[in-house]
Amino acid sequence: MDGPAQPEPDQGQPAVEPVSEAGSRSRFLTGVVVSEGIAIGTAQVHSEKLRIPRYEVTELEVKLELAKFDRTLAVSREQLLGLKQQHLGSEQTVRILESQLLMLTDPLFMGDVIQRIRGERRNAESVVADVVDEFCRTFEAMEDPYMRERVADVQDVGYRILRNLMQKEYISLDKVGPNTVLVCHQLSPSEVAQLSAKKVAGLASEVGGVTSHAAILARGLGIPALVGVQDVCVRVNSGDRVILDCVNGRVHINPSQEEVVEYADVKKRLVVSRERLLAGEALEARTADGLDLWLRANISVPAEVDSIRAFGAQGVGLLRTEYLYLSSTTPPSEGGVLLHRHERPDPVHHGGGPHERAAGRGVRDAPGGGLAAHQDGRRCGQARPDRRVVLR
């Protein structure tokens, strides 16, 4: 959560610059390309970085702060109940929302907030932020990785209360429509794992790196992404039209019609050149001296199977199982992991091919990952279990 209140950065620029001639440039921000492509869409700011106002209040104002906090809890409760109503079909989602509802009425959490607003005579926002932070630190220190992951739930509830206190719009990833360019401070890997290229046109974040897990996932899903775009959450507003140029590393905010046309053309050319490269996809992976090789790709989430197929991969070299855990609230069962492996219409099975050992890589020590990996370990007789799945 944020430090002391900071003045809002200058937002004095006009939203749209006048368009005079073709080729005129609207304002843009720069960033680092982590997943190539062009996205033209509507921005949705999904900012985790809230600027928390911090101030002391008088004895009389304490009552007002408490009343404000109370109203906010009621609003948050209504929102969660509404969300639950929308997701009645999904037992798991309902369970997550129910546990969040319980956190909203948690006597320890809420009791602490009320007691501290009274005792420390501070505004509700700063107290809620501090209490959420303290709970998160406690959970982060836990040994059990599943429990550590609960930090996300506590934060989620905390942010909901804070957003409602500060009357900021709450954006959930569920509401993201097609042609949305998600703008955020930092996307967590589990958030990216929930996305699909069909739902999101592009991603732009303030922090992150080329090798961050979120970036790796974005590339795997074929979603154009930029990281390190300074102040993008402040400079871009939800609803702005943006062009995400993930070739040159630029975010164009409210571009002119000429630019949109220009970029639509660039995007088309990129698709064509990509298709030309993929034309060799059906060719056998054979060296000049006739040695057959297995071409396999590493994946993290089942959705990536589609994109590695498009690139002509014959199988999966390494399946990073941790995202199966991170994107779910309960550890996936062995059956669930196997289901992921078989959910393709045609059978997906592992098998040995030539040079099996050359491609052999250990499964990372994902929490409980050994569960599913052992089967292969037994088959291959290797010390480090190997996950290899062949698409036929």
Binding site: L102, L108, F135, F139, E143, Y146, M147, R150, V154, T330
Partner: protein
Amino acid sequence: MVSRRALVSNRLGFHLRAVSTIVEACSKFKAGITLARDGDRRNGRSILDLMMLEADMGTVLTIEADGVDETEAVDTLVKLFECRFGEE
């Protein structure tokens, strides 16, 4: 006051589902209810407090209830532990 020991016998231990079930059950009683692990006593109505027990499968907890419906409360909770919080 009524006090009984209960074994965490579900595979996932005190994960969200189990803890939510306990909190929901505790909310139906008037008695004050605590769950303790080696003297570390936590509020039965607080999902966050209970998760901090980090009780995994095999942990023995002491359930304590104090109030008009204490016996019924402890019985209900012990039954929840026995049926592994509905986990298959």
